[in-house]
C-alpha cells in the first residue's frame, strides 16, 4: 500500500519535472511563431566582458529612458517598456510603466541602475548561444560590427504579451551563422 502511494507521488513528480521544461519550450515556441518582430541595435561591447563561455554577450543600445515623474523605482523592480519603431526600423523604448499597458507592443523588463533623470533597464535578452568553436570567431565578428564607427549588428526579437525570445543575431543584414559559414 505504502509502495503504491510512494510510486503514485513519484509519477506525479515525473510529470511535473517534464511539464516545467515543456512549458518553457511551449511559451517560447508560441512567441517565436506569433510574436511581433522587433530589431534591436546592439551597443558597443566591453571587449573584456563580451564573451562568457559559449555565448555572445549582447548589449542592446536602447536600454535607457527618462525617468517617469512621481514614480519611485527600485533596482530589480519589474516594469513594462512600451516599444515603437524609429525611422531606420529599429526598436525604441517610448515609455515605461508599472502596469501592463492595455494597448501597443511592450516588453517586460527589470530596473537596472537609476540616474537622476534616466533609468537603465535590464532587457530580457543578454546572450546568444553558439557552438563552442564558432563562438570565439562569432565574438570577434560581432565586436568588429559593434564599434562606434561601424555599428550594423542587431538582434531580431519576437515579442508576445511582453515576453521576448531572441530569434537571431544579425550583422550587416546576414545571420551570424551564415557569416561564419562564409568566412570559415
Amino acid at each position: 500500500m505504502r509502495r503504491k502511494y510512494i510510486f503514485g507521488l513519484f509519477a506525479l513528480l515525473i510529470v511535473v519535472q517534464i511539464a516545467l521544461p515543456v512549458s518553457m519550450i511551449a511559451k517560447r515556441e508560441a512567441t517565436l511563431k506569433n510574436g511581433v518582430v522587433f530589431r534591436f541595435k546592439t551597443a558597443p561591447v566591453d571587449p573584456y566582458d563580451a564573451f562568457r563561455g559559449r555565448f555572445v554577450a549582447l548589449r542592446v543600445e536602447v536600454n535607457s529612458i527618462s525617468k517617469p515623474m512621481g514614480v519611485d523605482l527600485k533596482y530589480g523592480q519589474k516594469v513594462f517598456a512600451q516599444l515603437t519603431v524609429d525611422a531606420n526600423g529599429f526598436a525604441k523604448i517610448s515609455a515605461i510603466s508599472l502596469q501592463r499597458p492595455k494597448a501597443g507592443d511592450y516588453l517586460a523588463a527589470t530596473v537596472g541602475y537609476c540616474h537622476e533623470n534616466s533609468v537603465n533597464l535590464n532587457l530580457p535578452f543578454d546572450r546568444y548561444y553558439m557552438e563552442e568553436k564558432a563562438a570565439s570567431h562569432a565574438e570577434q565578428v560581432y565586436r568588429e560590427h559593434s564599434r562606434r564607427d561601424q555599428q550594423d549588428a542587431y538582434v531580431i526579437v519576437r515579442i508576445k504579451d511582453g515576453f521576448a525570445v531572441v530569434e537571431g543575431l544579425y550583422i550587416g543584414g546576414s545571420k551570424i551563422e551564415e557569416i561564419l559559414r562564409r568566412t570559415k
Partner: protein, 439 residues
Amino acid sequence: MNEKALQWFYKELPDLVYKGVLTQEAADNLRRYYGGVKGADKKWLVIMLCSVFGALLIGLGIILLIGHNWEQLSRALRTVLSLLPLLIAQGLASWVLLKYPQSHALKEGTATFLSLMVGASIALISQTYNIPNDTPTFLLTWMLLIVPLVYFMEATIPAGIYIVGVATWTENFWYYQPLKAFLFWPFLAVIIPHLIGILREEKYTHRAAFLTLVMAVSVCFGTGFTLGRTWPSSWMVIFPSLITLFYLLGAWKFPGASTNWQRPPLVIGGLGIFVFMFLFTYRCPWESITQPYNYPPNEILSPTAIPDHLLTFSLVAGVMLFALQFAKRRDWMRTLFGVLPLMALVGYALATASLSSAFPTSLFNGFLLVVSLYRLITGIRANHLGTINTGMLMLAVLVLARFFDSEINFLLKGLVFILIGIGFLVTNVVMLRRKGGAA
C-alpha cells in the same frame, strides 16, 4: 561500536560460548544489543562516489554529443535532445523504484543521476532559446524539482545537492532582499525529517556523516547570507555561537562515535571554537566594531531586520542554555568550550563601551590560556594522548603568537620554538611509555 571491532567481536562470540565464558543467551543478548554489522555503509560510500562521477560523466557525455553538431540541428531536434537526458534518468529511476525498491544503492545512484539531469535539461533548453541569465530562478526551480526525490527514493546525495543549491540561491539576495534570503531556513528545514531519520537508523555511517557535514557547512554559509547585517560586526557573536552549537550538538548527539569522521559537527565545532578563540586574541576584529559602518542597507529598527534579530537572539540564548546543560552534567571541558558565545558577547560589550580593543583581547588571551591548560591537565589525568596534544597545541599557538607580537630578538624566539618542540616530543614519549607500562 567500531564496525571492525564489532566484526571481530561477533567472530569471537561462538568461541566464548563454546568455552563457557558466555552463555548462549548472553551472546544472543549481546548480538541484539549491538545489532548487525553494516557492511552496507562502505557500499554506500562507493555507490555515492560512483553514482556522482557516473552521473556527471554520462551527463557531460550526452551534452558533448549533442553540443558537437548543435548548430546543424534543427530547433525541434535540439528541443527533443534537451529533454532526452531527463527522460532517460526518469525511466531509470522509475524502473529501480518498481523493480528494486529495497536496493538503497540503486535508488541513491539513480536519484542522483535524475537530480543532475533535471538541471542539465533546463540548462540545454535555456541554451536553445537564448534564455537570459537568471541564476537564482534556475537554481530554485531545479532544487524544488529534485527535493521530493530525497523522500520518494530515500536518497541522501540529492539532499546534499539540494542543500548546497538553496545556500547558493540565498547568496543572490543577501544584499538587496534580506527577507527573501531568509527563505533559506524554511528551505533547509525540508531536509530535517530526512536527517532525523538517518540519525535514528544509521547514525555512525558515511551517509550520516556526509549529510551532517554538508548541512553544517551550508548552515555556516546560510548564516552569513541571512544574519549579522544589522549591528556592526555582530558576526563576532553570531558565528562563535553557531560553531559552539555544532560542537555541543556533536558532543550531545554523537557520544558513541569511535572515529572523528563519524561526528562532523563536533570536529567542525571544535576546530571553529579554537579558531575564534585565537582570532579574538588579536586587536583587528575588535577594532572593526568601532570602524565606520559600511554594511548592506538593513536598518537596525527596520521591519526587514526583525527575523535577523529574532534568529540571532534565539541562537545566542539557545547555545548558552545548551552549554549550561553540560555544566549541570559536570562536563567541564565541554562547558568551557561552550562558554565561547558568552565570552564573545562580553568582549563585544567591552569593546563597544570602552571604544578600545585592550579589554577584549586580554579577556581572550586569558580565556585561551585557561582552556588550553585545562585541556592539557585533563588529558594528563585521563592519560589521553589526543587531549594532551590538542591542549599543548592550543597553548603553543597562543604562546608563539604573543611571542611574535613582542619585540624580542630572533635568538630568543628561536630558543622558545626549540623548547616548545622538545616539550611536545618529551610529553608524547613519556605518555606513550606510561601507556605501554599500563598495558
